[in-house]
């Protein structure tokens, strides 16, 4: 989080770039971009630790001999990864946003007035984006499970980050609503597929 804050400060204080962050909307979208990018990768790391690694070291075979439904175990793991990602994104964006506002108070580089309207819209945008990003962070599960590889999981998440968080001149793929929605659905479907038939699968 400190890194993100530092990065944003850097961008906003550079005089030639100061045109970029002249509005609250632009400021928040930059925060949003960086935060989501970081935590999608974070989510993939969690997936790798909680699920992929258990399969790789075969400790999952010990886990499945316990008298607890396999579906419950998998769903619990997925919920942990999802909630952690979601909460981290929201919290990080809040904290960095507040810090930036504090800085803005003293340095005044954004010359708009902060209205409740803007805050409200931004809050909604943050939540929606965080939700979408959390689902998207489950997509690497598919890639990791093929060869039970933790590195494949993380690499996949980095690729996803490039897709949704790259932006040039105020335009990013994320602004086409269809893109995050489709990717979130794909993430949700992949997560569902991972526990749908787990009762009947063999663990070799």
């Amino acid at each position: 989080m400190a890194c993100i804050f530092g990065l944003i400060c850097l961008i906003s204080f550079d005089p030639t770039e100061s045109q970029e962050l002249a509005s609250y909307e632009k400021l928040f979208s930059v925060i949003d971009l960086l935060t989501r990018g970081t935590f999608i990768v974070f989510g993939a790391v969690l997936l790798a630790r909680f699920i992929i690694e258990e399969y790789r070291t075969k400790s999952i075979s010990v886990l499945f001999t316990y008298p607890i439904s396999r579906k419950k175990l998998m769903i619990a793991k997925l919920i942990v990864v999802f909630s952690f990602t979601f909460l981290s994104i929201v919290l990080a964006e809040l904290v960095v946003g507040l810090l930036m506002l504090a800085v803005n108070h003293s340095r005044e580089f954004i010359h708009e007035k902060l209205t409740m309207d803007i805050v409200g819209r931004q809050a909604l945008a943050i939540l929606m984006n965080a939700l979408a990003a959390s689902f998207m962070s489950l997509i690497p599960l598919f890639f990791g499970m093929r060869k039970y590889s933790t590195s494949a999981t993380v690499v996949a998440s980095i690729l996803i980050v490039f897709v949704v968080c790259g932006s040039t001149n105020d335009f990013s793929l994320n602004s086409i609503v269809a893109v995050p929605i489709t990717l979130s659905w794909i993430g949700a479907i992949i997560a569902y597929a991972s526990f749908r038939n787990i009762e009947r699968k063999d663990i070799i």
Binding site: T57, S61, V62, T65, Y66, P67, I68, D202
Partner: protein, 307 residues
């Protein structure tokens, strides 16, 4: 006679190739059942099917009188197992791993962990993460984990793998205690025939995925009883002498020179004397016990090459 475990024509095929075919085995309550078979015979696969890790292609499994389905979780809580190598969470200590295990199994007796560690003689391991354990220590910890919750059925896949001779002896004693004092039924697979011979009550021989024979060790001992073996170059005459003068017909000729007499009604000195007095040149004679090894190898080689 209650059976704690029964399978009925259990089969498993991987990619079209059958690795377990029509195995019907039964384990009685409170007994130690030894699984014998060469490498690749299908023992581990069967054990995995018993713990629901692998689903059978056909056939049924009945545990504790109830049918095992992909969702029968309550039954799994009554089984303790080691399949192949015991796996742990390597960064945690032994105690943490065992505590996790007890939590998952719903077993809340705090002293059970200490008891289990004591029973497998695993000492001086506090504070050491499992990744620093030697193979023998991991194996002992695996056994400790399997027995910690005092399950009704123990499924052990080669539990003495990697143990030193003292360890092997300790585990043998442990298995006896568990079976006799706690009434735990044990299914154990091993390659070490000598070990199985000393602990098991019943043995099941598996080869190429088929259960060739399931027989109690008592019966094996009876059929493979002691015998007197002697060497002579005239086997025909010796056999004649044995049947006419001593009334012994339960003999077997091995090779061209060795005869085994399974009927022990005549003591060895008298046998020797009779043979010699009838001009049978006896070159060597002694009393022997047929071992499980010969029985086992005989079963495997009866019609099939081992894998």
């Amino acid at each position: 006679m209650t059976y704690v475990l029964q399978t009925h024509r259990l089969s498993k095929a991987f990619k079209g190739k059958e690795s377990v075919s029509e195995v019907s085995m039964r384990v009685k309550k409170g007994e130690i059942y030894g699984f014998l078979g060469p490498n690749g015979a299908g023992k581990t696969t069967i054990m995995k099917m018993l713990t629901n890790l692998v689903k059978p292609t056909s056939g049924e499994i009945e545990l504790f009188g109830e049918k095992l389905t992909p969702t029968s979780y309550a039954l799994l809580g009554r089984i303790g197992s080691i399949i192949e190598y015991p796996i742990f969470y390597d960064k945690l200590t032994a105690r943490d791993n065992l505590e996790l295990h007890c939590e998952y199994m719903g077993y809340y007796n705090k002293k059970a962990i200490d008891e289990a560690l004591e029973l497998v003689q695993l000492r001086g391991i506090d504070g050491k993460p499992v990744k620093d354990f030697s193979l023998g220590m991991k194996q002992r910890l695996g056994i400790a984990r399997a027995i910690a919750t005092k399950p009704e059925l123990l499924i052990l896949d080669e539990p003495i793998n990697g143990l030193d001779p003292i360890g092997i002896k300790e585990i043998r004693q442990l298995l006896h205690i568990l079976s006799q004092e706690y009434g735990i039924s044990i299914l154990i697979s091993s390659h070490l025939l000598a070990e199985i011979e000393q602990v098991a009550d019943t043995i099941g021989v598996i080869n190429h995925g088929r259960l060739i024979k399931e027989v109690s060790l008592e019966q094996v001992r009876v059929t493979n009883a002691e015998y007197i073996e002697f060497e002579t170059n005239d086997c025909v005459k010796a056999a004649y002498v044995l049947s006419h003068h001593l009334g012994i017909s339960n003999v077997r000729v091995i090779g061209g020179r060795t005869i085994r007499v399974y009927d022990l009604s005549t003591p060895l000195p008298q046998l020797n004397k009779t043979l010699i007095m009838n001009d049978v040149a006896v070159e060597a004679i002694h009393q022997k016990n047929s071992s499980l090894e010969e029985y086992f190898l005989g079963l495997l080689n009866g019609g099939e090459q081992s894998a």
